[in-house]
Every structure is written in C-alpha cells, then in structure tokens.
C-alpha cells in the first residue's frame, strides 16, 4: 500500500478518438444491413432507392437529434408530432405557393417552435412536471394550432422550398446536407463548447451539477427549445420533400425518434448523448424500411424488425452480460456459516 504513494504514476492520457459502444453497434449493423441488401435485394440499394430513402432518413435524423437532447436531460419529448406537423403546415399554408412569402413563414415557424420549447422547458425545468405529461399537453396545443392554421386540408408547397429541400446537389439530396449540418452543429456545440459540456454534466447528474454551481434549471429548460428548433427544421424539410404534406405528417416520427436515440446508445436516464450514432441509427431504420419494402414483405415485418432491433439495442446496454455469462459458467460458491 505504501509503494503506491512513492511510485510516480504514469501521466494519464486521453485518446483523440473515442469510439462509443453505440457507434460500433449501430455502425456495424448499418454496414451489415447494406451488405445484406446488396446480396438479397439489390433493388433496395439501387441509385433510385437510395435517393428516395435519404431525404426521409435525413428528416428522421434531425428529429432524432432533437429528441436526443431532451433524453440527455432525462426527459422524453412527446410533442414531436405536433411540432413537425405545425412547421409543415406553416411553411406550406402561409406562403400559399408564393415563393416570396416563404421566408416570413419560416421565421414564423421558428417563432412557434421557440414558444413551444419555452413552454415545455418552463413546465419541466421550472415547475418540475414530468416531461411525459407536459409534452403530451403541448403536443395537443400544437395540433390545435395546426388545425387552426390549416383547417385540416393540405396545400402544396412552394416551388422554392421544394427546390431547396427536395433538390439535389452534386447528385446528393439537399436534405442530407441539412442533416449533416444539424449533426455538425449539435456535435460541436455539445462536445466542444463550455455550455455544451455543462449541458451534458447536468444531464448526467443534476445533483452533482448543482453542487458544482451549474445552472441546472436553465440547461434542463433549454434542452426543449433546442429540440423544438430541430423539429421545426425537420418539418420544413419534410414540407419541401413531400409535395402535398398532410396536417398529421408528424405522427409517423414520434416512435422512430425515440428508437433512434435509444439505438444510438443514449440512456433514457440522461447523461451523455451520441449524436453521430443517433444519425446512423436513423439511416439504419430508414434503410431497413427500404429493404423490407423491396422484398415485398408486409409493413408488419418491418415493424417487427424495428421492435427487435430496439429490444436488442437496449439490452446491449442494460443487461450485465458479463454477470449473465458468469452465472451460467459457474455458480458462485456459497459462503457457509460453520456452526
């Protein structure tokens, strides 16, 4: 025991590239999936299929990044359907086909998003409500706004937005660039700025964060605002990608958004977030859809595969596999109490 104090310990190092378990799992699964696709259903990796898949993967990735920020603070955001739908409705209804009115509409959508984020943040961060309830209520209010603006009828998007969100640059869908930009911003801000690092610390343990003097409430509240801004971006893109978006387009994104966050390795209990893995998980789920579609199997199988992926994904993190193996290899010797 004494020698420990005498010996000069080696200086601790830090590797530049830290590869998370989530990144490896999701990354390898995605590569495998593409390989299987190429072998079993080549049409699912044809140029047209991939070009068709990428925009939806991009939207899911952006929504997933938003959900990840909320999950990092130990919350969950059920207001995604309303938020995405509202952004869609605002940017398609307000301009009514007039390109010059697109920018004001986008600004209006962002204003709504900030409002919704502040409402969620105030209720969860400040009033201490459970995030499930607070965001459930906000979701209903957002749908109220959706119907108030649209009256429930779809309207086609402006040609400008369709060009921006749905167009191609160098043969790649523009939406992919938006998703990559969102990923880059989230990653840099969360991992490389003071505020971002504090944000992760608050999520990992609010009590410790408070004891070190961090402003816990602010970080917890703002998570919802950042998330809403991302949902808004996703909604705007979706409005451009689909020609005549419906008022309930956002409904389809709630569960996949939670699924990609979980698959990416972010714990539902909060803490560190894995933005890159989350985005890859979005690609994985979207390609899975594509694969199943090209095989011609029913929608049901696709859903079941999603569920299985989710279960395996969560179990990888939650189950103590080492202990599990041990239990089957040898029974721990019973400590007897000699009488």
């Amino acid at each position: 025991m004494i020698d420990a104090t005498v010996r000069e310990p080696a200086k601790l190092l830090s590797s530049r590239l830290v590869v998370s378990k989530g990144f490896v799992t999701v990354g390898v699964s995605t590569v495998l999936l593409f390989v299987v696709c190429a072998l079993v259903a080549p049409t699912s990796v044809s140029g047209g299929a991939v070009l068709g898949m990428i925009p939806f993967a991009a939207v899911l990735a952006i929504v997933g990044l938003g959900q990840m920020l909320v999950v990092q603070q130990g919350g969950i955001d059920l207001s995604i359907p309303g938020a995405v739908s509202l952004a869609i409705v605002i940017v398609s209804h307000e301009p009514d086909g007039d390109n010059s009115r697109l920018l004001p509409a986008v600004i209006l959508a962002l204003a709504y998003a900030i409002g919704a984020g502040l409402l969620n943040g105030f209720m969860v961060g400040r009033l201490g409500l459970n995030s499930i309830i607070a965001t459930l209520g906000t979701n209903a209010l957002l749908f109220g706004a959706v119907l108030g603006i649209s009256g429930g009828t779809p309207r086609s998007t402006t040609s400008l937005l369709a060009g921006i969100a749905g167009g191609l640059t160098w043969g790649i869908p523009n939406s992919a660039f938006f998703a990559l930009a969102a990923l880059a911003i989230v990653t840099v801000v969360v991992k490389r700025t003071v505020a971002g690092r504090r944000f992760e610390a608050v999520g990992a343990n609010p009590l410790t964060a408070r004891a070190t003097g961090l402003r816990v409430t602010i970080h917890q509240s703002l998570a919802f605002v950042w998330a809403q801004l991302l949902y808004c971006l996703a909604g705007i893109l979706l409005a451009g990608i689909t020609n005549q978006p419906t008022a309930f387009q956002g409904d389809a994104y709630l569960l996949p958004a939670v699924a990609v966050v979980v698959l990416g390795g972010t714990s539902l209990l909060g803490g560190r977030g894995y933005p890159i893995a989350t985005v890859i998980a979005a690609l994985f789920l979207s390609q899975l859809d594509q694969f199943v579609l090209s095989l011609g199997v029913p929608y049901a199988v696709r859903t079941l595969v999603q569920a299985a992926a989710l279960a395996v994904g969560v179990a990888l993190y939650t189950v103590d596999w080492a202990a599990f193996r041990q239990r089957f290899i040898r029974r721990s010797p019973r400590i007897g109490t000699p009488a």
Partner: protein, 848 residues
Amino acid sequence: MNNQDTVDVTTPDKVEPAAPATLVMSNISKLYSGVAALSDVSVEILPGEVHAILGENGAGKSTLMNVASGTAQPDGGSITFEGTPIGVLTPAIAVQLGIAIVHQHPAVLPDMTVLENLQVALPAEVLSSGTSLEATATALLADAGLSVHLQDRVELLSVAQKHLLEIAKALALKPKLLILDEPTAPLGQASVDLLFERVRRSVSNGTAVVYITHRLAEVRELADKVTVLRDGRVRGSARVVDITDDELLAMIVGRKLESTFPPKHISSPDDEANFSINGLSGSGFANISISARPGEIIGIAGVVGNGQSELMRALAGLDYFTGTVAIAGTTLNSRQLLQEAAYMPADRHREGLLMSLSVRENAAVSALAKFKRGPLLSRKRELGTVAETLGSLAVKAASMDSVVSSLSGGNQQKVVLARALLSEPLLVVADEPTQGVDVGARAEIYRILREVSASGIPVVVASSDAKELEGLCDQVIVMSRGHALEVLQGAAISEERMIHAAVRSTTRSVSVVADAEASKHSGLRRFLQGDYAPAVLLVGVIALLGSFLFSQNARYLSDFNIYSVLTLVTALGFIALGQTISLLIGGIDLSVGPLAGFLVVIGSFFINDDKSVLMIVLGVVLMIVVAAVVGVVNGSLIRFARFTPIAATLTVYIALQGFSFLLRSSPDGYINSTVTGIIGSQLGPVPVAFIVLVAATLVTEYCLKKRRWGWRLRATGSNEESARRNGININRTVVLAYVATSLFAFVGAVMLMAQIGVGDPAQGVGYTLTSITAVVLGGTSLLGGRGTFIGTLLGSILLVQVLNATSFLGLSQMWQYLFQGLLILVAAIVYSVARRNNKRRKTSFALR
C-alpha cells in the same frame, strides 16, 4: 498503538442466566470486500435485559446488528436463538423468531397514510386483535408515544415522528428481541423519556433489548449491560453498574491509526484570520462561530448526523443559512458560496461525481471556461491542465477517458478533489473526504488538503473519524445535535477530547419538533392533501361543463347522446384503469393502446357471425392469454433485463403493432353481431358496460385502499427500498402489476371490438396517450405511490365529455385539441403545485 490486552480492564460477565440467552452470537466475523468489519465477535443477549452496544463510528455496531437481524450474512461464527442453533438467518426467519429491528433510517412509505404503513408492516392478526382497527392502531401508536392522525400521509410527518412510527411498528410485533439503532438521535426530551419508559416495560415482560448508541448518559440511564466494540472487535463487556465512565471511554478510544498525517501548520500569532463564520444557523445546526488564519484546517467533529453535513452544505452554498461567512474580509452569501466554494460531498456517487462520464469530464466540469479558445474549448489546453492536476494528485486510472465509476473509491475521491482544485475555489468544504478510501490514498488526500490550506485557501473538513481530525486539523468544532459543544485548538485536539465531548453530551436536537404532539391538521386540509381532492374537483368540472352544454342545447341530455358518450367512456375507462396500476408502481405502460388493437384483431378471427359458440369462447380465452403474456413480457423486461419502463413498453408497443398488421393487413373479419349486441346492451340510456366499468372501478378502489394487494402496489411505487424492507416482493409485484394492466386493456379491447365491429390493425394505438391523459387528470402521480381508480374514471369521463362538447357546440376540431391540451397542462400544474405546497409545509415544520 495500544495492544488489545492492555486496554481490557474488565472481563465479560460470568453470571449464569436463569433462562437460556435470547440470542448468542459466537465468534462472528464479517468481511466487506476483503476488509474485516467484524472479527471474532461474541455477544450474549439475555431476556429481560437492555444490552447497550457502544463504539465509535465504524466500530462495527451496525454490521453486528445487521447480522443479528438477518440482513447481512456472517463469513464465520454461529448464531443461537433461545438455545436453538440457527443455520442461516434471513430477515424472514428473523421475523418468525421474533426479532425486530428499528433502523437508523426508518423504512416508512411516504405516500401512504400512517394506518396503511402499519397495515403493510404488520401481520393482519396484530391489527385485528382489538375492538376496531382504528382503536387498535391508535393504541399501538400511543404505545410508542406517537399521537398523529391515522389518516395523515407519512410524507407530512417530521423525522422524529417517522422514527416513532418505526418504533411503534417494532413494538407492535411484541418481539422477543428488540434491536434499537440510535433511536434517540432525532427525538426531543419528552419522546426520549417516553421511549425509555416503554423499553423498560417491554424488558420487564421478558423482552431482550439491544441498544446501540454513542452516548454514555443513555447507557447509564437504560442499560443493564454494555459491550464496547472497536475496529470490529469486542473491547470488553460489563455490567453497567460495575464500570465507570472513564473505563468505558478508555475502551472506546485508541483506535489503531493506519495513515500518516502531514505536519500541522505553525501559525504566527500576528497572522490575520482569513476565514470566519459567525453565528451560523440553519436547518439542523445553530449558532456556529469560528475563525481561522491562513494555513489552518478547520475540523468538524461529532457523531454522524449531528448537523455536520447540514453545516457543510450551508458553507457550500447549497442550503439556506443565517449568520455570516467571510473569506479574506469579504462576506459571501449562499449564491456566491455556491459559485466560489468547492464542495466535496460525503455521498460521492449521489452528489459528487458524474458517474456515467469520464475522468476528464468530471475533473474539468467546473473549470471549463478556462479552457476556451475563441468560442470553442481547446482540447490541448483542457488535456494539459487536467492531466497535470490529475498527475499531481496521483490519480490511478487506465486513461483520462475511463468512466469514473470504474475507479476505486480513493481515486474517485481524488477526481472530486481535482475538480475542486481546478475550479480555483475560495474555500474548500470536504465532508467525510476519506470515507470508502483505501489507506494509501488517505495519506495522499491529507497531504493535498494540507497543501491547499497552505496556499491560503481555507479548508473545512467534517469527519466522523475523530482520529483523522486529530491528525489533520488545527482547530476542531465538536458538534452534538446541531450545537457546537466545544472548539478545540492546538494540543487540545485529541480523539479523546472529541469523543468525551460527544458521548457525554446531553444536549437535545436543534429541531426539537413536537414529535409526540397530536397533529393539528384540520379535516379539510387532510382532505385536500388526500387522494380524493382531484376526484371532487373533476366532478365539479364535469357537472359545470355538462350544465353549460345542456343550457346551450337540450339534446345534450338526450338518451342517444348519453348512451354514445358513456359507450366511448367504457373503452377508454377500462384501459385507463389498467394504466393507473402501472403508474401507481412508478412505471408506465405505453403498450396498452396497440395491445387493445391487437386483441381486437385476434378477436376478429374467432368472434364472427359464422363461428360456433365454442370458437367464440376460444377466441376470448386466447385474447386473455395474449394479454397476460404481454404483461409478463413488459414486467420481465423491466425487472429482469433492466429496461426503463418507457424503453420496455415502447419496444412492445412497436412489436404489437407489427403483429396486428401481420395478422390483418387491412380491416377485415366482422365481429359477431350477437356478441356486439350483448356488449352494447343498455339499461335505460346507460350502457350496461358502463355500469360494469363503475363497478370495476369501485372494486379496484376498495382493493387499493383496503387490501394487501393495493398496499403492495402503492408501497412499491412510493419507495422501493422501504417496501422491500417491509417484506414486499418487488419483482413479483411489478410483473403482476403489468399483467393486471394488460388484462384491463383486454376488457377495454372487448369494448373497442364492439364499437368498431371489425378487425382493424390501425385501431387502438391512440389509447396509449389518451389513457395516460385520463389517469393524470384523475390525480394519479407519475412518480408512483399515490392515485385513485375513481379519479381515473372521472378523468376518462371528462376527456370524452370535452371531445363530445366541441362537436355539440359546433366547434372545429382545433378546439378539441386545444381543450385537451389545456386540460392536461392545467391539471398537471395544479396537482404538482398543490403537492409542492404540502412539501413546503412539511419543511417549514421541521425548521421550527
């Protein structure tokens, strides 16, 4: 240091007992991760005697009692109870034998009432023995000197009252062996007298009592025999009358010193004080003053739980205080202290570390602003500074990227220290800095604290280890029950002086709450704090809305409208009743909606017009079986695969949707019209199914409040650890709760089946969120432990009523959503604010 043999001034008592000893523990040893907590301990507890166990913090008293009550299994030695050798002692066997233990931290269930706490803990026959349940329970409480109202929520009791409740639970079992672990710590004088009186009465009836304490005065007052433990060994045992205080003290002190301390600071008399606190008072401590010169370390001594931690938290800026704290002549308030003081909490895992993050992130978190270059963090600067600090503290880890939870206790504490140093604090506040730290690392932590102090930063160290304070500190405040008993300086700082002061103290708690006083809550307030206030509120809202709608349109109360509204309520109502069960245990079930849809799809294969009665019955049975299996899967994923409830039930949610579409890709399979007719039959304007729903609500409500089944659910949701200590099987309760949730979803599915009349794979999903909404409207807490089925039923009614109202008033769908959203948010905010007010009332109560 002292050799054991030289200190032993007395020999164990040799008087032969008339009856066999109640409990004999011979040569007990117990290791915790290789460290001996007990070695070769032998104690004999006789009936009709109070046997005091004395010793310092960490002497092994609590471990010995955990062995005696079956909570911990010894690594060696034997246990004999009333002459019969006991092979393996478990908590269950201990209860059967008649061993009752009162823990230092009461195992009470905060969300349940006093009466329910008794009912959960005690066998039914104990409470049913007297004339009425209430009378028996009140008598049991009075027996322990507690006179609170039986219907008060335990959450609202003071610490002392919770303690008395715990004692009442133990006494009610009429144990043969009663173990009291520091029972008087939170109690006022009157309660202590009452407790002693009660203990003497039990003893005269032949009960054997083990009394763990730090205080000589209590030993003298109550005990017949005393055994002193030190370093996990018996230092001596004697009859109380045969031994003097000084002899006892000599046995308690003189622990072997394992670490070396850095030399103490030598201050010159003309140094100015750079740190002073004056008249500091707060929750749990009062009127503490001291001042220190640069280079001096201040120690806070005393038996654990005498206000030291509260004082430290106040100094760290985490808790409110009055009085002044000045550093280098500047007075700092709480907010400034929170920013400027570096706090090292006693509970590292809970409050000191970000357990899931890396060593680097933990160390850097308080100094991030210094690593900035432009808007971003400079990796180089961060790594350089952090590595240097970690190196100077000799932190041993695989790399800076190692998760901090993988480090040993000593290295974890050094990471906390590194964070403290990197933040360049004005003050270092260290609560139990060497707890759970190995010997080598201890010496280093002492050295670092000394260096910090020498650099001019004031250091305050609280420790339950008097020897440590003796070696480390230049001034020591000895605290007892929140007061500063003495301030020791220089040569006067010795373990002996500290322990003398602490064990001889006869002060009483600062927060001398009226523990035994009857609660003054009025009936009205009790009702408002109770579970049924939301229900009454909902009835009011439903009636108001209903009469408004009726005034607008008389057809609102037409038979047709009543029938259609109530029919819609039935499907939602049953599913929401199930959801209530999941929320009561502190979980959530997202899969109820898809499950209901899936069950309808299954039914659509069997329950058709052309099928025989047998096939229809088979279909129903299959639906029940599938529902039960889904419940088992949900519960097992949560309890055994450690999924969070959301992750588990979300997975099942998606899977069930898949199964629905697998069986039917589009709506098909028309439901048997006779069956639909039966389910939809009505009594006047009211659907029979609705009457069944109301009956089911009342029955489940009754079970929830009056049956063990319901108590178990609420106990599990209220506080899992306490529930376990009350003998509840948590795994079984949770899995069965999810099964019950699924079975209610089955009944809801039957209603749904009759309403949609066809197997539609897309139906039902929406019921997940609607059911949660209904439950929350009904006042059930998402944190678990409290809620009512009646509230859920009313919540379902209100929800359907609001949807119906919008169409009745000719409002657009927009209003449907807006109303629904506002309803949820208003309800959630109102309930949570009401609950917070209750809590605040409780805290202010404790502060008095």
